[in-house]
Amino acid sequence: MQVASVLDRRSVLKGAGLLVAGMTTQPGMSAPIFGGHLKVAGAVGSTSETLDPARQSMATDYIRGHLFYDGLISLDDRLNPRPALAEAVESDDFLTWHIPLRRNVRFHDGTVLTADDVVFSLLRHQKPEVGSQQYALARTMQSVRAISPLLVEVVLDAPNSDFPAILGISNFAILKAGTTDFRTANGTGPFRCEAFTPGIRTVALRNPEFWGQKPYLNSVELIAIPDEMARHNALMSGDVDLIATANPRLVPMLKKNGFGVVESPVGTYTDLSIRLDQRYGRSADFVEGIKFLLNREQIRQSVFLGFSRIGNDQPIPPESPYFNHQLPQRPYDPDRARFLLKRSGLLDETIPMVCSPAALASVDIAVVLQYAASRIGQKMAVQRVPADGYWTQYWMKAPLGFGNINPRPAPSLTFEVGFASASPWNESRWRNPHFDGLLRDAKSTRDDTRKRQLYWDMQALVSSGAGVCIPNFTNSLDAYAPHVCGLRPSQAGQLMGYDFARSVWLNETGGRTG
C-alpha cells in the first residue's frame, strides 16, 4: 500500500456528504508552491504542553505530534488506516500481528529507524510512570518484540481486527529508543523542532530528510490562543494565518471578510451521562424522559448554529460507514418526557446536572435542557464547575454530568472504551453482557457485512439502554487567511486531523518570511 499524500478532495467528501456548499471551496486551487512560513493558533495551550507523544492530551499536542513524529499507521480523512512507518500491519488471527517497517527512515538526529525503536515506543506506554494517555490500550499488547531490524511482532491478549487503527492513534508515535528527554523532539516527522516553550510557542522547520512527500511549508509556528475573541482577532488582524476551533457565531463575519472556513465532520460529541447505578439513573423512565427532553434541533440551531449533526444517543456519527441509519431518530417530545419523568417519580425533585467549560458546549446544552425541563415542570439545577479538575473530580462521578468524547479511529474502539461493561470509562455504568458479546464478535470477525450488522445492533442497544444522551456530533471549524491553500475537511479531527502541515501551502500573495 502507498500513502496517498494528496487525495482528491471529492473522494474524501463522498462518505460525509454534508459539508456546507461553498464553505470549503479553495480560491484558486493552483499548483502548490513550496516555501513560506505559516503561523497557526490552536485553541488550547498551557504549561502542561508536552513533546512526549504518550502524554499528548490536547489539540496543540497532537499538532506537534504530527509535525515531528510519525506513527506506524496514519489515519486518512475518513479514518481509514494507511501505512506510515509500517509498510503493512498484518495478522491471520487478529491476535498476533506482524509489522514490517519502512526502510531508510531517519530520525531528526540522523539515526535510522529500527524495530528496537518501535518496540521501545510501544512498550513504554505500559509503564504507569510514563503517564501514557493510552495506558489501557497499550496493556492489551501482551508482547512486543523485534523479530528482525525491520520487523516487529505484537501479540494481543484478545483478537482485535481494529489493531491497525489503534496504531494510528497519535500517542503511539515512534520515538528513538531510549528517549527520556522531551525538551525537544527527535522523531521522523516532516518537520524538525526548532523551538518549544510549553504554553508559549513551538517553531518547526522543514525536515529535508523526510521519508515521505516533502511538505510545502518552510516552517510552521504554533501558538495557542485560548481566548476565543483573541484568536479570531489574531486571524483577522493578520497575526496568524490559520486558527483551529473557529466559533460558529463568527463564521458569517469571517466569510464576509474573505477568510476561509473548513468544516470537518468529526465524531466528537458532548454527551450528558446519567449514572445508571445512582439515584436518578436507576429509573429507566427518568433516563428515557431526559432523552426525550433534549431538543436536539434547538441545540443544533442555537448552540452550534447548525454546525453539528443530530445525534441519536449512540456514539457512531452519521458519516461513518457503520452508522445505523435505520435506527429511528429520537424526537424532542416534552409531553412524553413529562409522562416518563412523572412515572419515574422524580418530577418534584430538583435534578442537579454538572457541566463545565472543559466539556465543549456542555454549559449551553445544560441551559437548553434546563429550560426545556422547566417548561414541563421538572426542575433542574445547572452546576457549572471550573474546567480545571473537571475530568478527575466530576466526570463520571456526578449522577448527571457532561462528558466530551473524541472520535476513535474505529467503532470497536469507541464501543470498547465507552460502553463495554468492564471499561473504566463506561460513563453511565451501563452493564450489558449481550453488548459485550457483540463487541467481542465484532473485533474478531473478518466479514465486513457481519461486522456492520453487529455494529448496528450495538448502536440500537446503546441508544435505548445506556445512560448516555448524545444530542449532537460537533463539526470542527478551522478558519484560515485567504493565502492559505490545501486545507481540507477530515473526519480525523480539526486541522485535517491535526496533520495540516503536510499538505498546506501558501500562495504568492500571503507568504510571510519566517
Binding site: 476565543e228 475573541m229 479570531h232 466559533n247 457565531r249 463568527l250 463575519m253 434547538q298 440551531q301 442555537s302 448552540v303 448554529l305 467549560p357 454549559v363 449551553d364 445544560a366 441551559v367 437548553v368 434546563q370 429550560y371 422547566s374 439545577a381 445547572v382 452546576q383 457549572r384 464547575v385 471550573p386 474546567a387 480545571d388 479538575g389
Partner: protein
C-alpha cells in the same frame, strides 16, 4: 449597617440613593420584562433591536433585555452582599484593633498586609477552586478580598475618633466598651464608611466582572453583568447590544456611584 444608614446626613445622600436605586432595580427589574430570561427560541443569535426584543438577542438567541435585568440583579445583589460582608467584618476588626489590646492590632495588621499582597484574582481562583462557584462562595471570596482594605480604612477612622474628647469623656464616665463602640465611635464612622462601602462596591463589581471573564461567575442560566459580556463577547464583531449594553451598564453603575461619592467627599 442599618444603624449607620439611619444616621445619614446630607453628605452621602446621593451615593446612598444611587445604591438604593440599583438595589431596587435589581429587585424589581426582572419583573419588568415580559420575556423569560432563560427562554431559548428559534430566533437568530446576536440579532439587533426589534419590537419583539428591544435589545435584540444574545448568543443563544435569548432576549437581551430580560437577561440584562437578570444580570443587574445578580451583579448588584452579589456585590452588595460581599461589600456588606467586607465592610462589616473590616469595621469590626478595625474597631477591635483600636479598642482592644496592642497584640490584636499587630496580628490583624500583619494579616491584612499579607492578604493585600496576594493578588486578588489569584486568591479568588484558589478559593473558588476549593469551594466551587456557589453564590455563597462568590460572596465570601469577594468579601474576604476586600476585608483588609475596609479594615485599614475603619481602623484609621476609629483611631482618629477614639482620640476625640467625647470618647475620653465617655471613658471617664466609666461607660462600657460596647457602649463606647456602638454609641460613640460607630455612628461617627458612618459617613466615611459609607464612602468606603461605595468604593468597595465598585471594586467588587469590577472584580466580579473580571472573575466572570475568567469563567467564574454565577451559575447558568442565571447571569451577572460580567458573565453576560463574556458570553456575548463574540457579538462585538456584529455590534450586538448583548455585549455592548452590559458594558455600558457596568460603566454607568460604577461611574455613577463614583461621581456621587466624589462630589460628596469634595464637600468636606
Amino acid at each position: 449597617m442599618i444603624v449607620m444608614f439611619g444616621k445619614l446626613r446630607s453628605k452621602h445622600d446621593r451615593a446612598v440613593l444611587l445604591i438604593a436605586f440599583w438595589i431596587l432595580l435589581a429587585l424589581l427589574g426582572p419583573l419588568c420584562s415580559s420575556h423569560d430570561p432563560g427562554a431559548i427560541g428559534m430566533q437568530p443569535v446576536f440579532s439587533g433591536p426589534s419590537m419583539a426584543h428591544l435589545l435584540g438577542t444574545d448568543y443563544l438567541g435569548r432576549d437581551t433585555l430580560a437577561r440584562l435585568l437578570n444580570g443587574i440583579r445578580h451583579t448588584v445583589l452579589l456585590c452588595f452582599a460581599s461589600t456588606l460582608f467586607s465592610c462589616s467584618v473590616g469595621t469590626f476588626l478595625g474597631i477591635a484593633a483600636v479598642t482592644s489590646r496592642v497584640w490584636v492590632e499587630a496580628v490583624t495588621g500583619r494579616l491584612a498586609d499579607g492578604f493585600l499582597s496576594i493578588p486578588s484574582l489569584l486568591f479568588a481562583l484558589l478559593v473558588i477552586a476549593v469551594f466551587g462557584t456557589s453564590t455563597g462562595a462568590l460572596i465570601m471570596t469577594m468579601g474576604i478580598i476586600y476585608t483588609p482594605g475596609a479594615y485599614r480604612t475603619s481602623r484609621a477612622l476609629a483611631q482618629r475618633i477614639a482620640r476625640l474628647d467625647f470618647v475620653t469623656v465617655a471613658r471617664a464616665r466609666g461607660e462600657s466598651t460596647p457602649y463606647i463602640i456602638l454609641q460613640e465611635i460607630l455612628p461617627n464612622m458612618a459617613g466615611p464608611m459609607i464612602a468606603d462601602v461605595g468604593l468597595r462596591f465598585i471594586y467588587s463589581v469590577l472584580l466580579l466582572s473580571n472573575l466572570s471573564f475568567l469563567g467564574i461567575g454565577v451559575q447558568p442560566p442565571e447571569v451577572d453583568l460580567g458573565s453576560m459580556v463574556r458570553e456575548n463577547m463574540l457579538g462585538m464583531a456584529y455590534g450586538s447590544p448583548a455585549m455592548i449594553v452590559p458594558v455600558i451598564v457596568i460603566a454607568v453603575l460604577t461611574v455613577g456611584i463614583n461621581l456621587a461619592l466624589d462630589s460628596s467627599s469634595g464637600k468636606r
